[in-house]
C-alpha cells in the first residue's frame, strides 16, 4: 500500500453530505436536525440515514429532547469526529496539491 493521500480517505467521511454534517457540527459545537436539513437541502429521511452512519461510526452523538413542546434532535461532534474531519480535510488538500503539481509538471504537448 502506498502513502498516496487517497489511501487515507475514510469512506464514512468521504461523502459530501456526511462531510457537510461534520463541518457544520464542528463550527456550531451543537446543531439541531432542522438546521442541518435546511442547510444541506435534504429530506428528513435522507439526513437521518447519514446521521445513523455517522453515529454508528461514533463520529457524532445524537441527543433527543424537547424545547417546550417541540421535539428536538441535537447533533454533537465527538472527539473521533473532530479527528476524522481534520484528517479528511488534510487528505483532500494533499490530493489537490498533488493533482496541481502533476498538472504543472505535465508537458504542454499533451494538450
Amino acid at each position: 500500500m502506498t502513502d498516496h493521500p487517497a489511501n487515507g480517505l475514510d469512506d464514512v467521511v468521504h461523502q459530501r453530505v456526511r462531510l457537510g454534517i461534520l463541518a457544520i457540527a464542528h463550527q456550531a459545537r451543537q446543531v439541531e436536525f432542522g438546521f442541518l436539513r435546511t442547510t444541506l437541502e435534504l429530506t428528513a429521511g435522507n439526513l437521518g440515514q447519514h446521521l445513523t452512519v455517522l453515529e454508528k461510526a461514533e463520529l457524532v452523538r445524537i441527543e433527543k429532547g424537547y424545547e417546550g413542546k417541540r421535539p428536538r434532535t441535537w447533533v454533537t461532534l465527538t472527539t473521533a469526529g473532530q479527528t476524522a474531519l481534520r484528517k479528511e480535510i488534510a487528505h483532500l488538500k494533499q490530493l489537490i496539491q498533488q493533482v496541481e503539481q502533476a498538472d504543472t509538471a505535465a508537458p504542454t504537448g499533451d494538450r
Binding site: 468521504h14 461523502q15 459530501r16 453530505v17 462531510l19 457537510g20 463541518a23 457544520i24 463550527q27 456550531a28 459545537r29 451543537q30 446543531v31 439541531e32 436536525f33 432542522g34 438546521f35 435546511t38 442547510t39 444541506l40 437541502e41 435534504l42 429530506t43 429521511g45 435522507n46 424545547e67 428536538r72 480535510i89 483532500l92 488538500k93 490530493l95 489537490i96 493533482v99
Partner: protein
C-alpha cells in the same frame, strides 16, 4: 420520495468548496452582532446621570507642566458603575446568544467573547482605581499640551475602549470582517475623542466622552441588524 440535491461522488475541490460554503452559512447563522452593540450603547447612555449627579472627589495632586497642578478627579459611583454594568451586559449578551442558538438550531461559540469582555472589564476596574490615585492627565487640558502617547494610553483605559477591545474578540468568534472594520473605526473614534479638550467648569463636561461612543454603537447596531446577510441556502 427521497431527495438529495448534492451528487454522491465529488472531487476534492468540490468537497472542500462545499465544506467552506456550509461553514460560512453556519457562521452567518451564529451572528447576533447587533445585540451586544445595542446593550453597550444602552449602558453608555445610562451612566450619564451618574456622571452628572453623583458626588465628585478631587483626589491626590502633583505638579503639572508650566507650574500647574494636576489632580485626579474621582467619581466613586462611576468606578462602581462600569464593572457592574459591563459584567451585566456580558451576561445579557451570553443569554441572548444562547436563546438565539436554540431558536436557530445552531450552537454558538460566544464564550471566548464573554470571558474576554469580563476580563477586560476587571482590568479596566483595576486600572481606573489605580489611576484615581495616580494622576497623569490634567482635568482641564484646554491650555496644556499632552503627549499623543499619553492621550492614547489614557484613551485605552476607558470603558468605551474596553468595549472596543472586547469587540475584537467577537470579530474572531464570528469571523466577521465587517465587524473588524467597524471595531477599528470605533476604537479610532474613541481614542481620538479621549484627547478632546474639555472645560471642566461645565457640569456636562463628560458628555462627548459618552455620547460619541454611544452614537457609534447605536449606528453599528442598526447597521448590523439591517444588513445581516441571509444564512438560507442560495437557489442553484
Amino acid at each position: 420520495m427521497t431527495h438529495e440535491s448534492v451528487p454522491p461522488a465529488d472531487n476534492p475541490h468540490e468537497l472542500l468548496t462545499a465544506v467552506r460554503e456550509v461553514t460560512h452559512r453556519v457562521r452567518i447563522a451564529q451572528r447576533g452582532t447587533w445585540f451586544p452593540l445595542l446593550v453597550f450603547a444602552a449602558i453608555t447612555l445610562a451612566v450619564i446621570p451618574v456622571y452628572r449627579y453623583a458626588p465628585h472627589h478631587i483626589g491626590p495632586c502633583r505638579s503639572g507642566p508650566q507650574g500647574t497642578s494636576v489632580c485626579a478627579g474621582v467619581i466613586p459611583a462611576v468606578l462602581v458603575y462600569w464593572p457592574i454594568a459591563l459584567v451585566l451586559a456580558y451576561v445579557a449578551v451570553a443569554r441572548f446568544y444562547v436563546l438565539q442558538s436554540r431558536r436557530r438550531g445552531v450552537g454558538s461559540r460566544i464564550r471566548p467573547y464573554v470571558v474576554a469582555g469580563v476580563v477586560i472589564a476587571a482590568a479596566l476596574a483595576a486600572a481606573s482605581l489605580w489611576r484615581a490615585f495616580h494622576p497623569r492627565m490634567p482635568l482641564s487640558s484646554s491650555q496644556l499640551q499632552v503627549a499623543p502617547a499619553t492621550l492614547v494610553a489614557h484613551g485605552l483605559v476607558t470603558p468605551a475602549a474596553a468595549i472596543g477591545l472586547a469587540l475584537l474578540v467577537l470579530v474572531w468568534v464570528e469571523r466577521n470582517w465587517g465587524l473588524l472594520a467597524y471595531s477599528l473605526v470605533y476604537l479610532v473614534i474613541v481614542l481620538a475623542n479621549s484627547g478632546r479638550a474639555i472645560h471642566s467648569s461645565s457640569p456636562w463636561y463628560f458628555l462627548p466622552q459618552l455620547l460619541i461612543p454611544a452614537a457609534v454603537l447605536l449606528l453599528g447596531s442598526a447597521g448590523f441588524a439591517l444588513f445581516r446577510p441571509s444564512a438560507e441556502p442560495q437557489p442553484r
